[in-house]
Amino acid sequence: MSLSNIFNISGSGMNAQTVRLNTTASNLANAQSAASSADQVYRGRHAVFAAVQQDAMNIDFDTLDDGVNQSSGVQVLGIVESDAPLQPRYEPQHPLADDKGYVYYPNVNVVEEMSNMISASRSFQVNVEVMNSAKQMVQRVLTIGQ
């Protein structure tokens, strides 16, 4: 039944948004984590989303659905590190300063991360609502003929 598939789809959406929220939390927590060289410093992380395509070999004979173009949920392909420029700051008193007096700060844009956080939490909310109304629909179907 296709209604029960909604739970998988919304579940995958919630999962993806949770990963995104996790990376945002990590970025914000490490926004001020300084390091003494460009290699060691924390870099902003971002989740990459992609639609899950149904298996082309998995033809459903009951509905004759070739299923090639219909997607079923979202997946997190991976987490990439941002290649935005790092922020070297001249702070000779800093214990982590290198021999030229520079400390490297992460390339995390706090404003960007905040808007990312709001977007992720809204999208999560939408998926919860979709799942809730799907639940109501299924419960309603169970009462048929009563």
Partner: protein, 134 residues
């Protein structure tokens, strides 16, 4: 006189089925609201209902030349019936899902599902009354 379920239930059975399928497609759009290059999809309810209606009446015409062949009769829901939505304001990442539009369609579809269900349930109740003869 035998009770013919197909005649008794009318269009509501197919309508409910298509509403459930559409809910799935719209849920998929909402789940992929932040996926780059994802294209929002939807079903045309009217044409699908017409097609289901015809398919129910005559079945799918399939030629069989051997006893082992399938005789058709399946309902057709192939991916070419899934249409692409034209976005009002396309975004830079190639995603055509607009949260408010999809949300509204999803809610509308859920309400239509409820009304289809209520009508179908009424048909069942009518049949029950006829069977009990009360």
């Amino acid at each position: 006189m035998a009770i013919n379920f197909q005649a008794a239930l009318g269009v509501h059975e197919s309508a409910l089925k298509i509403r459930a399928q559409r809910a799935e497609v719209l849920a998929d759009n909402l789940a992929n609201a932040d996926t780059p290059n994802y294209k929002a999809r939807d079903l045309d309810f009217k044409s699908m209902l017409q097609q289901q209606d015809q398919a129910q009446n005559r079945g799918l015409e399939m030629q069989t030349s051997s006893a082992g062949h399938r005789d058709g009769g399946a309902t057709l829901f192939s991916s070419d019936q899934l249409l692409y939505r034209t976005p009002q304001a396309p975004s830079a990442d190639g995603n055509t899902v607009e949260g408010h539009v999809e949300h509204a369609k999803y809610m509308e579809n859920a309400l239509a599902f409820q009304s289809s269900f209520t009508l179908l349930n009424g048909k069942f109740k009518g049949l029950m009354t006829a069977i009990r003869g009360e």
